[in-house]
Structures are given as C-alpha cells and as structure tokens.
C-alpha cells in the first residue's frame, strides 16, 4: 500500500487542478480541456485493449461513431436525457464490442489490425446509405445543445469514473488475465485463462469506453453527429494518442490525450502547422519519432525520470 502513496497523491493533485480549472480558464479554454477529456476516455479504452491485452485496434473511431450516433438519434427522436444516452452508448458499444471481439478470437496481430482498419473505413459509409434514419452526409442534429461548462463537467466526471473503473479492472484478476493474454496467448491458456471470455471482454470494455467518448464528442460538437467527423483519421488519432501515452500504462494517458486533443486546436494560431495538413504532418512525424526514440511513450519517459531521481 505504501508504494501507492505517491501515485495516489499525484492523482489527487490532477483531480484538484481539474476541479479548479473552470474557475480560472476562459470559456474557449474550458472547451479545449473538455476535448482533452474526451480523448482521455477513448485512449484509456484503447489502452485497455491494445496496451494491456495486446489486441491492436485501428478502428476505435468506429465505436466512437456508434456512441455518438446513439446520443444524437436518441436525443433527436425521443428527447432522452443526455446522461441516459451516454449510458446507452456505453451499453450498446459494449455489446457491439463483444460482437467485434468474437471474430477477433480467431485473429491476432496483423489480421486484427486489418479487420479493425476496414471497420473504421466502412462505418462512415453507413449513415450515407441509411440517410433517412441517420441523416446522410449532413448528419444528425440532437435536440439540445449544452454549455461548455456542462461538457467539461460531464467529460471529466466520466473520465474520473472510468479511470477508477479501469484501475480496478486492471489491478485485479481480470487485469492479470488480460496481461497474460498479451504476453503469450498459449501460455495464458495453459495457465487456465479462458481466451474467448477475456479477449471478447477486453473488446467490449474498450469499445464501451470509446462509445462514451463518442457520445461526449457529439455533444461537444453542438450535438452534431456527422460521418466526416468519424472518418478513419479519428481512429488513427486514437492510436497516436495511445502510442504517445505509452501502451500498457495508465500514467501517460493524460499526456497522450492532451497531445491529440490540443494539437489541432492550439496549432491553428501557429503558421504552417495551422492548417489541417500541417497538423497531420506533426501527428505523423510525432508518432513515428515516439515509436523510434521512446518506445514506451510518455509513461516510459516518466518511469525513466523516476528511476533517475531515485538513483
């Protein structure tokens, strides 16, 4: 327990800062920090799957799309309470994640990467086909818009709950099974880990996280769910976030989420990088450099600093 005191202390500091920020920041900056929170949830979910269970997904934007459209459609057609739509997004994406996890049982490594990539490319086509229900390329507008402060509070409350949930999951029996699957599937089976259960479960949990993130993503975009917002680049960005954060660690996720969430917004004032393409160049170059120079991402950097401090 004593070894966890510094970790708990730093968590409390982060939580306190996040509670204070709305009183200090301008309206626009509150919105930016909320964006970071949305990516925090999604990258956290992806990390449970890719970092802890070793199952790569290049398609988590697809789950965000499902979550986002759930919120938009329920709010448009039934005026459902927005918090309830988030819970629905969580539940629906959990089920869809389990379903995607089923074929994933037989696939690993590059095959899984292929399937999830194809999923990410395919999903934005669905609203175009079923345009009466899902609004076509114009998108679905939910019935209510919410203030930036509402988004901020909702996002970081969700982040806190889901972070604690992830921490509980990963430190217990389930987390040990996940890590066993990641390190060697055959060894895990030999030690009595039921592969089908844990692999699909990891997919479900991870997709549910992405679903909540997608729901918040739509609310932050004034309740607009548009196919172009959920294109393959969203999925790639999540993977970039997870790589920058460091796979298999919870400590770097804030940094990864801040990198992915803030760069597009902040860089608009910077020349050259300001436009969309400059941002892509920075994203691409950054993820390649991180993988080459800092394989464990920001979390690895933190660990290295901690070791240096102790020495």
């Amino acid at each position: 327990m004593r070894s966890q005191i510094p970790a708990l202390a730093s968590l409390l500091v982060v939580a306190a800062v996040l509670c204070l920020l709305p009183f200090i920041l301008s309206e626009y900056n509150i919105y930016l920090v909320a964006q970071v929170g949305i990516f925090f949830i999604a990258v956290l979910g992806l990390n449970i799957l890719t970092g802890y269970t070793g199952q790569i997904s290049i398609g988590h934007g697809a789950f965000m799309a499902i979550g986002g459209y759930t919120t938009a459609v329920m709010s448009r057609d039934h005026h459902t309470n927005l918090v309830v739509t988030m819970l629905m997004a969580f539940a629906i994406c959990f089920v869809v994640g389990l379903l995607v996890g089923l074929p994933a049982l037989r696939l690993s490594g590059v095959y899984l990467a292929l399937v999830t990539f194809a999923l990410a490319v395919s999903i934005p086509q669905i609203p175009l086909q079923y345009s009466t229900f899902l609004g076509g390329s114009g998108g679905v507008v939910s019935s209510r818009s919410v203030s930036n402060l509402w988004i901020y509070t909702a996002t970081w409350a969700c982040s806190a709950i889901l972070f604690v949930l992830a921490w509980l999951i990963l430190r217990g029996r389930l987390g040990r099974a996940f890590r066993a699957v990641r390190d060697s599937e055959i060894a895990a089976v030999a030690s009595g880990v039921e592969l089908p259960i844990y692999k699909t479960l990891a997919f479900g949990i991870s997709a549910a996280y992405a679903g909540v993130a997608g729901s918040l993503f739509v609310l932050a975009a004034n309740g607009f769910a548009q196919p172009s917002e959920f294109d393959v680049f969203l999925s790639l960005q999540l993977l970039v976030g997870a790589a920058v954060a460091g796979l298999g660690s919870l400590w770097g996720i804030l940094a990864g989420a801040a990198f992915v969430g803030l760069l597009p917004q902040v860089s608009t004032s910077v020349p050259v990088i300001g436009a969309q393409h400059g941002r892509d160049v920075v994203f691409g170059a950054a993820v390649i450099l991180v993988m080459l120079l800092l394989p464990d991402g920001f979390a690895g950097l933190l660990a290295r600093i901690r070791r240096l401090a102790r020495a």
Binding site: G109, A118, V281, G284
Partner: protein, 336 residues
C-alpha cells in the same frame, strides 16, 4: 544433384508453388470462371461489368501484391502502402506538369517509388521491426498520417486531373463495349506483376530475397545480405503500389488525396483471400474481389456504391472466419 541445388529447389517449391491439397480451390476458381464466361455470353451488361471488374480488380491485385511482398519480408502489414501509392501518383502528376510525357513520367515515378520504399524501410521500419508487430504497425500508421499531411500540404486537397494514358476510345467485341482504358490497365498491371514474378523466380537477387524472407538467419549464414534484401523488397512493393496508383487514377477520373483509401481496403480483402503469403493469390484475389464488387453493385439494388466498402469489410471478415489461410495460404503454426 548436390545438396546446394536441392536446397534451392526446395526454396523455389516452398515459395511459389500451389499446395497440392488445394484441388478444391482450383475447382472453385474454374467454377467461377465458367460462371463468368456463361454470363458474359448471355448478357452484354454482364460482360461489360465483368470487364470493368477485372480491370479494377487488377489494380486491387497489384496493391495487394505490394502488401504481400512486405508481409512476406517483414511479417507486417504496411498500412501506408496505399498512401505511398497515392503520393507517387502525385509525383507523376507533378512530373507531367513539368513537361514529361505520360510514359516518361510513369517510368521516372517507378524509379522514385523504388528509392522511396527502400529509404523508408531503412530509416523507419528497420529500427522497430524486431520489437513487436504492434510497434511496426503503429509506425506505418504514423507514415499514413504523415504522407497524407505532406500531400495535402504540397498539392492541396482539391481534385487534380491527369491526361489519360490510353485515350478515350473503346473496342467493340460482339456488342460489348470495352474501353481502351480497361484493357490498358490490365495489360500494365499484369506485365508489372509478371516482371516482379520473373525477378523473384529467375534472378539471383530474387533468390536472395526469398531466402531472406523465409529463413533470415540461415540466409545470412550463406552470405545473403538480409537487411538489404528486405529494403529492396519494400522498394519493389512501393513500385507495385505506384503502378496501382497510376492505374487507379484514370478509373476514378480524378486524383485526390483519398484516392487509395478505399482501394487499400479492397487490397486487404484481396490479399487475405489469396492467403496473405501468396503472391499469385494476391493477384487472383484482387481480380475476384474486383469482379465480385462490380457485379454485386451492378445487380443487387440493396447494395449501392455507398455500401461497397462495408460489403468489402464483410467479405474480409467472412474469409477470415471461414478460411483464415485464404485460397493459397498455408496454415500458420503458432509458437509460444
């Protein structure tokens, strides 16, 4: 016969021959061919769709072959393969703006693509390829984003048009109108595939590349420079990708940064259908996927062109669930 030549024969047999137990696969393919032939004889619309499907499918096959070459060499999928192809197509566009004729630009682009592929393997992939599949995949994803950003930066996101390589005419074969473009696409793609095949089959370089891909340690012991072979493999893959990009452009009419994204998914499906390890399978798979998609979108009203991508995704999924080793692949043995 000395031990050396029999080992070479063994390599050849392992690398390129079709597994004899795959007689059912051959039967299936013959059945599909008969179905298409009968359909083409009975209906001109069917024939036209089939020709279009074969032409598009050869492009998918070319990109799929590029993926397979990389997969055989480094056991990783290059997610940036399509974007790389798109980038080299823009290079051809730029060369033509500077006064080169289409085929001069074509040749120059292939040379540039080769250099680009080689350099990328050496600088970006080599440092991570021994770490893990996930690390390598993430690097290629980074490359995907980077190339997309660079292309948008240099050329912008708007549509560009290139001169048509084969003119706008058409042949008329018994009432079936076949545009020169489709014939040209098939001829160019198939000849480049054949050239690559010949390189692997008949040259010492190709033998070295196959050895390096199959048994890196053993190949290094008999004097093959494994690292250079892998780099050349990436270069050749980039060349095939460039051919795919250049042939895809006229079929899409315009050149845009998203040119190759759907084609990459079709190429994935083609490569997996062929078995991911088999070069011949990739090309056959490409043509099969191309014809299937074109016929389905042409004849099934429920599947519009919007649903073409999700349908390809479904095909990919079904192949992986029913026969993960594809038509020409071998079952993988997993080790702890």
């Amino acid at each position: 016969m000395s031990a050396g030549t029999s080992a070479v024969g063994g390599l050849r047999a392992r690398g390129w021959s079709i597994d004899p137990s795959a007689a059912t696969v051959v039967l299936l393919l013959v059945g599909a061919a008969i179905f298409l032939l009968v359909g083409c004889l009975r209906s001109t619309t069917f024939a036209q769709l089939t020709v279009q499907g074969v032409a598009l499918g050869s492009v998918y096959g070319s990109l799929a072959l590029a993926l397979v070459l990389v997969y055989r060499a480094t056991h990783v999928i290059n997610f940036a393969q399509g974007e790389l192809a798109m980038f080299t197509t823009y290079i051809a566009y730029e060369l033509m703006l500077h006064g080169l004729s289409y085929w001069e630009a074509f040749a120059a682009t292939l040379a540039i693509a080769f250099a680009l592929g080689t350099v990328l393997q050496v600088t970006l992939i080599r440092p991570v390829q021994h770490r893990s599949v996930i690390a390598t995949v993430i690097v290629t994803v980074g490359l995907f984003i980077l190339i997309d950003g660079i292309v948008n930066w240099i050329w912008g996101g708007d549509y560009k048009s290139m001169p048509s390589p084969f003119g706008l005419g058409a042949y008329n074969v018994g009432g079936v109108v076949i545009s020169h473009l489709y014939v040209g696409m098939v001829v160019v793609v198939l000849s480049s595939v054949l050239l690559v095949w010949a390189l692997f089959r008949f040259t010492k370089l190709g033998l070295g590349m196959r050895a390096a891909a199959m048994r890196p340690a053993a190949a290094a012991l008999v004097g093959v420079r494994v690292d250079s072979m892998l780099a050349i493999g990436w270069g050749l893959a980039a060349v095939l990708g460039a051919v795919a990009g250049l042939m895809a452009e006229p079929s899409q009419i315009f050149l845009s940064p998203t040119l190759m994204q759907p084609i990459l998914v079709y190429a994935f499906a083609a490569a997996v259908l062929g078995g991911l390890e088999s070069p011949a399978g990739a090309v056959v798979g490409g043509v099969l996927i191309g014809v299937t998609l074109t016929l389905i979108v042409g004849y099934v009203p429920q599947i519009s062109s919007e649903l073409q991508l999700p349908f390809a995704f479904a095909v990919l999924l079904v192949i992986l669930l029913l026969k993960p080793s594809g038509l020409f692949g071998r079952r993988e043995v997993r080790r702890v």
